[in-house]
């Protein structure tokens, strides 16, 4: 860890901001601020916030990229905060006081979100230590098996890291033992609902029996298959079932654990940034700043929430949505009465003086992730006010084009891009494919095709782990196909 002196003026600002933040009802871990020069902050950013990470070339690549971006003045990292107890946050030394204050308030917002949003509840709050443990495991494996060999295998695992179940922390996917209302008291073994004999034909009509039989047969067929149900967490499946060496299994596990740790941040990008921005903006303008600082602050804040071109900025859409929710619940602009009202004037001036806004946004920050957040709170009004549009790829013109300004379409597009953090949904469906121990994955096609070159390269990496032929079933525009790699060549059928 790099320790730098925390200057006393910053310390004073920190204590003051912490008091204000707590007064506003935010509930955070202890935040430890480190003040670093740009080179160090770039290096920590390259490590995704954890200076203790295992050795790997991609941190170096990222560091080069960030350093170049800084040198050309394209980007500066304002803040870097990590989900840990205590929460670590890094401040750029060369920033002025006013920026530091804004960043601190922003960081407290993130920290509150980390601590209270339920999608983060399963994350390891001692990740700083865990990352260091991972690093020391990887280093000792490297010492034993050689850096090249281990690093190469890390590359292989990273190639599969998005094949995790982002809900793994909260949902049990493996079925419990069958225990439902359907008993099997008839001789043919088809499960029926229990019924008095005179009710039999009513409770268990013939159509129901047919459906039950089909489902039973399906279940039987599947139970001979392995896995019996599709498995979303491909990484976990590989950890358990791939014929890998113990050290390889260990690396798979490390990569999976780290991917799952970062997943909630991907699932709540809009909300997390929106929440932090909401609070820095609210607190800076009402309590933290003095009059002389307000103009400088306004400029900084505008920079953070600016849209670049026509790109949607998650900070911006997030903060605007939180404000919109607060306003709607303050004025009671929700529920059946409001929705059914079709008088323009009445809607515009609607105010029930409920004052529930604050309470509502705190509830939202606890229970939602980006998908549910957008699904529930992105309204047509909001969409029109913010001038959103949807765009799509026009393959004949080979460019992206504005597609529509229709609310439904926009929302669909937005939700799709957020689902599974923008990754294709891929399951393991058969680990004994063709009865030869081959692995079959299924891409759940929802209208968007896979990048074929990348899929091929990834499949080759998957083969390195599974060591038997591997397949992925997917679709192109109109036709189903299975892409296979048997260790020597790629085939498509």
């Amino acid at each position: 860890m790099i320790h730098t002196a925390f200057p006393s003026d910053l310390k004073a600002a920190k204590y003051r901001i912490r008091e204000i933040v707590e007064g506003a009802g935010l509930d955070t871990y202890e935040v430890i601020f480190e003040v670093l020069d740009y080179k160090t902050i770039n290096s920590i950013a390259a490590y995704q916030g954890f200076p203790t990470r295992y050795p790997h070339w991609r941190w170096g690549m990222e560091f080069n990229r960030l350093t170049k971006g800084y040198a050309y003045g394209l980007q500066t990292i304002y803040e870097l905060v990590i989900n840990n107890d205590p929460c670590y946050a890094y401040l750029l030394q060369s920033n002025e006081m006013i920026t530091q204050k804004m960043v601190m308030a922003h960081v407290y917002g993130h920290c509150d979100f980390f601590k209270n949003n339920m999608w983060f509840s399963h994350t390891n709050r001692k990740m700083m230590d865990e990352m260091a443990n991972h690093a020391s495991r990887v280093r000792s494996l490297m010492a034993r098996f050689g850096q090249d060999k281990v690093e190469e295998f890390i590359d292989v695992c990273l190639s599969l890291e998005n094949l995790v179940d982002v809900h793994a922390g909260g949902i049990r996917r493996t079925p419990r033992t069958e225990k439902n209302g359907a008993g099997t008291d008839q001789s043919d073994g088809v499960p029926r609902l229990r019924a008095k004999s005179y009710m039999e034909d009513y409770i268990n009509p013939p159509e129901f029996i047919v459906a039950q039989r089909a489902s039973m047969e399906g279940k039987e067929r599947r139970s001979k298959q392995f896995p019996s149900e599709p498995v979303r967490d491909v990484m976990a499946f590989l950890v358990e079932h791939a014929p890998a060496e113990p050290w390889q299994r260990e690396i798979l596990e490390i990569v999976r654990e780290e991917a799952l740790y970062f997943a909630p941040q991907g699932q709540t990008k809009i909300m997390n940034e929106g929440w932090a921005s909401y609070w820095h903006s609210t607190l800076m303008t009402t309590e933290i700043l003095d009059d002389a600082e307000i103009v400088d602050y306004a400029q900084k804040h505008a920079g953070v929430t600016a849209n670049s071109g026509r790109q949607v900025n998650p900070y911006k859409i997030g903060i605007e949505l939180f404000r919109d929710i607060e306003d709607r619940w303050d004025r009671g602009r929700f529920g059946v009465d409001y929705e059914m009202c079709d008088s323009f004037e009445e809607r515009r001036d609607w105010d029930r003086h409920l004052g529930l806004g604050r309470e509502k946004i705190f509830e939202v920050r606890r229970l939602y992730n980006d998908v549910t957040f957008i699904d529930e709170f992105l309204t047509e009004d909001f969409c029109r006010r913010n001038n959103f549009f949807s765009f799509s790829y026009n393959s004949s013109a080979e460019r992206y084009e504005i597609e529509s300004r229709e609310f439904k379409r926009i929302k669909e597009r937005l939700l799709f891009s957020l689902t599974n953090m923008g990754n294709p949904l891929i399951d393991v469906i058969d680990a004994n494919h063709r009865n030869r121990g081959e692995l079959l994955l299924q891409h759940r096609f929802e209208g968007t095709v896979l990048d074929l070159d990348k899929a091929i390269a990834t499949l080759k990496n998957l083969y390195r782990v599974w060591s038997r032929p591997v397949h992925i079933a997917s679709r192109s525009e109109k036709k189903d196909f299975v892409l296979s790699f048997d260790g020597e060549e790629i085939t498509e059928e």
């Binding site: 290096s43 200076p51 050795p55 790997h56 070339w57 991609r58 941190w59 170096g60 690549m61 560091f63 080069n64 190639s159 599969l160 890291e161 998005n162 991907g266 990008k269 670049s308 071109g309 026509r310 790109q311 949607v312 900025n313 998650p314 980006d370 913010n386 001038n387 959103f388 549009f389 949807s390 765009f391 799509s392 790829y393 393959s395 013109a397 460019r399 992206y400 084009e401 504005i402 597609e403 529509s404 597009r413 937005l414 799709f416 891009s417 957020l418 953090m421 923008g422 990754n423 294709p424 891929i426 968007t448 095709v449 896979l450 990048d451 070159d453 990348k454 390269a457 990834t458 990496n461």
Partner: protein, 366 residues
Amino acid sequence: MSKIERDAARFRHIVKGRIRKELKQYMSRGELFGKKGKDVISIPLPEIDIPRFRFGTGGSGGVGQGDGEPGQPVGPGEGGQPGPAGEDEGQHVLEVDVSLDELAEILGEELELPRIEPKGAKSITATYRRYSGIRRVGPEGLRHFKRTYRESLKRQIMAGTFDPKKPIFTPIREDRRYRSWVDVVHPEFNAAIVYMMDVSGSMGDEQKEIVRIESFWIDTWLRAQYKELETRYIIHDAVAHEVDRETFFHTRESGGTRISSAYTKAAEIIGANYPPQDWNIYLFHFSDGDNWGGGDTEVCLEILKSRLVPDANLFGYGQVQSPYGSGQFIKDLRHQFSSDEKVVLSDIQGRDGIHGSIKEFLGKGN
């Protein structure tokens, strides 16, 4: 070395490894130096990125914000998806920057090129001034502010006149410190390359592209060996002209071929600008091997023997196969110079021959 520097070094190591592995391919393709900066080139290296299952071009589309009618194009970088999807999923090909020195190093290792032992006395030297020391006297312009104040502080503390509540420094004569320098003398070797190319009708675009690629690699290697490298270009058909680089690669004439005109021109340029005792001179001539009759080849051999070869470190002749050339000229040269260390003759069989040809040209370490 700090932790991140080790990872960065590791990254460079891997990049170099990839380039080395693919060097033969890179050498037969022209795209490499399309992205050339002053000291670095950007090499497209998509394989270094970690592949994942993801959506293909076109993707799912997305949502943007702002004005515009349906059907209007959305510019690159616009309308990126919010959330993590837009963060690292640029559709661009990953490029890495490699300095020309590094590239030369890779080239040298891969082709096992010997270091060049520069000829001539270390007659050309350059003197650098390096500010590395501190002294008590000097011009005010070089006064070292911090050191001076530190001396002043020391003196006042020692004298007991320093008041931390009211820190006032008044440097006196004895406190003043000045930067001082040392002169560092570097021997320097300078080199000049003269490229000559036949641009007569029989040299097609493909032939010129091969010459372009060859000259890129020759430049890269020699630049790494010499501090200063001057490059001159001569094109010729029946007459020769000195031209700039751009023209060199893009001129096409339809006339006949008189090679001696180029050699004469080269001799003139060297005579006027590059005294051989001070300069390492490299001459490269590319043609398809056709030369006019009427005794021109004899004239060429004569100029080479009496003027060009004695002055040069190396005379390289690359014969690029073309469907029209007879390929006779290389035979004439071989007949004459088969035993001369300074003359390298290379028969370049298409793009795949570039690799071997560079090795022939630079493999002797002249």
